[in-house]
Amino acid sequence: MSHHLVHRARSTRALLLTFAIVGALLGVLLASQGAAGYGVNYCAGWSSSGSRCEGPSHTLTANFAYDDTGSNAYVCETATNSSGNSVGGWGCGYGYAESCYAGNQLLHGWVANGSPYWLYINGTEYYSQGCP
C-alpha cells in the first residue's frame, strides 16, 4: 500500500514537473514574440488566487504575465505610473496576458492571479523595443 502511494506521489510529481516545464517553455514562446528587446523577469513564484505582485520601474513597452504551471489558468497584468495610477487597467487571459505601452514614462509592471487556484506566475517587463 505504501509502495503504491509512493509510486502515485512520484507520478503526480512528475506530472507537475512536466506542466511546469511546458508552461515555462510556452511562456518563452509567447513572451518572446512581438516584444523583442530587453526584458526583466519579476515576481516569479507561487501566487494565491487574487493576489498581485509589483515589478520594478522601467520605461515599459510591454508587460507579460504567464502561468508557469502550464494549466492555462487565468492571469492578469497591468502597469502603474510613478503616481500609482494604472495605465489601462488589468488585461487578463488564459495562460498569459500581454499589453503594449508607449515607453515614454516609467512604469511598474504588475502580475496577478485571476484564477481560483494557486499558480506559479511569472512576469516580464520589456523596454526599448517592440509591441504594436
Partner: protein, 195 residues
C-alpha cells in the same frame, strides 16, 4: 515544490532577465504575409477586403505576438468604455489568431490563441478595472467562428446576458461573469469558464 523549483529553474535558464540580452533565447515565429487560408475559412472577418478603418495606430512598429501582422488586421467598432477605446482588431498570426484591444487611456492589450482553440470559441480575454482584482465590471471580448450569432454570458446573481456577435466578435461589459456559452455550428453547445 519540485514543480516550483523546476519552473523557476526552467525560467531562469531559458528566459530573459536584466542581463539576458547576453544569452536570450528568442524563438522566432515568422510574421504572416497574408491571411492564412485556414484562418480566413473559419472567420469571415479575415476573408473580407481590408478597409481603411481596419488600420490601427500601433503602439510601436513591428510584428505582434506569434507572427501576427498588424497590417492584416480587421477592426470592428464596439462601444467605448472606461476600459477600452472602443475598437477590437482581429489579427491573423502564424497558426494563431489574435485579438487586440486598445485601452481607453493608451496602450493596448493583445491576446492570441491557436487556430484550433480559436475555432472552438476559446479566444476570449477580459479587461478589468485598476486596483485589487475582485468581482466587478469586466469587459469581455471574444472571437467566434462563422455561424455563431450570439453567445450567452452568465454572471453573478443569476444574470444571463445574450451578447450579439458582429463580424465574428463579441464584446460586452458585465459584472462578475462566470461562464460563456457558445453554440458552435457542427459541434453543439460549449460552455467555458469566464475570465
Amino acid at each position: 515544490m519540485v514543480s516550483a523549483a523546476a519552473a523557476a529553474a526552467a525560467s531562469s535558464l531559458l528566459f530573459v532577465g536584466p542581463s539576458a540580452s547576453r544569452g536570450r533565447i528568442t524563438l522566432t515565429v515568422t510574421e504572416v504575409r497574408a491571411v492564412p487560408p485556414a484562418e480566413a475559412a473559419s472567420f469571415a472577418i479575415l476573408h473580407r477586403p481590408l478597409r481603411s478603418s481596419d488600420a490601427f495606430a500601433a503602439v510601436h512598429p513591428g510584428s505582434g505576438p506569434v507572427g501576427a501582422n498588424p497590417a492584416l488586421a480587421r477592426t470592428v467598432s464596439e462601444p467605448k468604455s472606461g476600459l477600452s477605446a472602443g475598437v477590437v482588431s482581429v489579427v491573423p498570426a502564424n497558426g494563431w489568431v489574435c485579438l487586440r484591444v486598445p485601452f481607453a487611456k493608451g496602450g493596448a492589450q493583445w491576446w492570441c490563441q491557436t487556430l484550433a482553440l480559436a475555432r472552438s470559441g476559446k479566444l476570449v480575454m477580459a479587461l478589468r478595472p485598476p486596483g485589487p482584482l475582485r468581482a466587478g465590471e469586466q469587459l469581455l471580448v471574444g472571437l467566434v467562428p462563422d455561424g455563431v450569432r450570439a453567445v450567452t454570458v452568465a454572471a453573478a446573481g443569476g444574470v444571463r446576458h445574450s451578447v450579439p456577435v458582429r463580424s465574428n466578435v463579441y464584446d460586452t461589459q458585465i459584472y462578475a461573469p462566470h461562464s460563456i456559452s457558445i453554440d458552435l455550428p457542427g459541434s453543439g453547445a460549449h460552455r467555458y469558464a469566464a475570465p
